[in-house]
C-alpha cells in the first residue's frame, strides 16, 4: 500500500516535511506498549500508537520503522517532530482511534508485520 493511500484512508495529517507519497508501506503494527513494539517488529513497519513521548523516537533507533501514525488526535511535541526530522522518519496523525485506524488499513490490504 502506498503512503498516499494510508493518508487518505486515515484522513491523516502528515507532520514531517516532504513525505514520499508513492513510498510502499508493506506492513503495520499497533500498540501503546514499548516492549510489545520491540518484540513484534522484525521488518520495516508502520507503527500506530497513542504514545507521544520522545521514547517512541528512541524506539525507532532500535528497530526499523517506516513511519509512525499517532492515533485518536494526539499531537506530539515540536521536540519529538524535530527528532523525527533528524532521522528522516515519517510522522502522521489521525483523529481516528487505534481500533478504527487498524481496521481500515487491514481491510484495505495492509498486512500485519511478522512477529
Amino acid at each position: 500500500m502506498t503512503l498516499n493511500e494510508i493518508i487518505t484512508l486515515l484522513e491523516g495529517e502528515v507532520l514531517t516535511p516532504s513525505p514520499d507519497l508513492d513510498a510502499q508501506i508493506p506492513c503495520a503494527f499497533a500498540s501503546d506498549l514499548i516492549s510489545d513494539i520491540l518484540m513484534c517488529t522484525k521488518e520495516p513497519t508502520l507503527l500506530l500508537t497513542g504514545l507521544t513521548n520522545t521514547q517512541v523516537i528512541r524506539l525507532s533507533d532500535m528497530i526499523d520503522l517506516s513511519g509512525i501514525v499517532f492515533v485518536r488526535g494526539k499531537k506530539p511535541s515540536q521536540e519529538l517532530i524535530e527528532m523525527a526530522e533528524e532521522r528522516n522518519l515519517l510522522l502522521m496523525m489521525t483523529k481516528m482511534t487505534m481500533y478504527r485506524s487498524s481496521g481500515l488499513l487491514y481491510n484495505a490490504g495492509l498486512r500485519s508485520c511478522k512477529i
Binding site: 501503546d32 506498549l33 514499548i34 516492549s35 510489545d36 520491540l38 518484540m39 522484525k42 500508537t49 504514545l51 513521548n53 520522545t54 521514547q55 517512541v56 528512541r58 524506539l59 533507533d61 532500535m62 528497530i63 526499523d64
Partner: protein, 172 residues
C-alpha cells in the same frame, strides 16, 4: 535452553545460556578478556529523554563494523530494554559495551535498590513499574523476558537493597 536461578548466601544470581553456547560463554566469563572497542555511558534515574541513546550508539557502532541487520536488531532490543530498566527501576547507573570480533558483551550496573525476586521479575507480564513509567509506555513486564529472548546469555546478580548487575552476551 538452560534456565536456572542459583541462590548464594548474600546475593541472588540468575543465568540463562542458550543451548549450544555453554562452552563459549563459560570460557568468556572465566577469562573476562578486554575488548578493543569499549563504549560507556551513564544512565540517569527516570531520565526518559536521553535514555536509549547509549543503546543507539552501540547499534550504530556495530552497524559501521558491518554486523548484519538481524544481529543489530537483537543487540539493540536487548540493550535498550536493559538501559530502560536502569532508568525506570534504579537510582541510576551505567552501561559498558565490549565489542569483540565474534560477540558483544553488555554490562549494566546500577546503584540499587535491587531486585527482590529475580525469578518473579523474569515472568512475562510481572512488573513493579510506577505510574510515571507506565504512562511512558513501559512497564509491560516484558523487559527481562525480551532481553532473554534476544540474547545468547543473560546473567543477573541482585538482591533487595543491593545494586543490580545485568550482563548480556550476543554472538554475531
Amino acid at each position: 535452553m538452560q534456565d536456572c536461578a542459583a541462590v548464594r548466601s548474600d546475593m541472588a544470581e540468575y543465568w540463562n545460556i542458550e543451548s549450544g553456547h555453554e562452552e563459549a560463554i563459560m570460557t568468556f566469563f572465566d577469562n573476562r578478556p578486554v575488548a578493543d572497542v569499549v563504549l560507556e555511558s551513564e544512565i540517569t534515574e527516570k531520565d526518559f529523554v536521553t535514555s536509549g541513546r547509549g543503546s543507539a550508539d552501540v547499534k550504530n557502532t556495530l552497524k559501521r563494523l558491518g554486523i548484519g541487520p538481524e544481529i543489530l536488531r537483537r543487540v539493540a532490543v536487548a540493550s535498550y530494554e536493559a538501559e530502560i530498566n536502569v532508568a525506570a527501576h534504579s537510582n541510576g547507573g551505567k552501561m559498558e559495551s565490549s565489542i569483540f570480533d565474534d560477540m558483544i558483551h553488555l554490562r549494566f550496573t546500577d546503584r540499587g535498590p535491587g531486585i527482590a525476586n529475580i525469578e518473579q521479575a523474569m515472568v512475562p507480564g510481572y512488573s513493579t513499574a510506577d505510574d510515571l513509567v507506565r504512562e511512558m509506555g513501559f512497564g509491560a513486564g516484558l523487559g527481562l523476558p525480551n532481553i532473554k529472548k534476544n540474547s545468547d546469555a543473560l546473567h543477573i546478580v541482585s538482591d533487595y537493597g543491593k545494586p543490580t548487575m545485568v550482563e548480556i552476551v550476543i554472538f554475531y
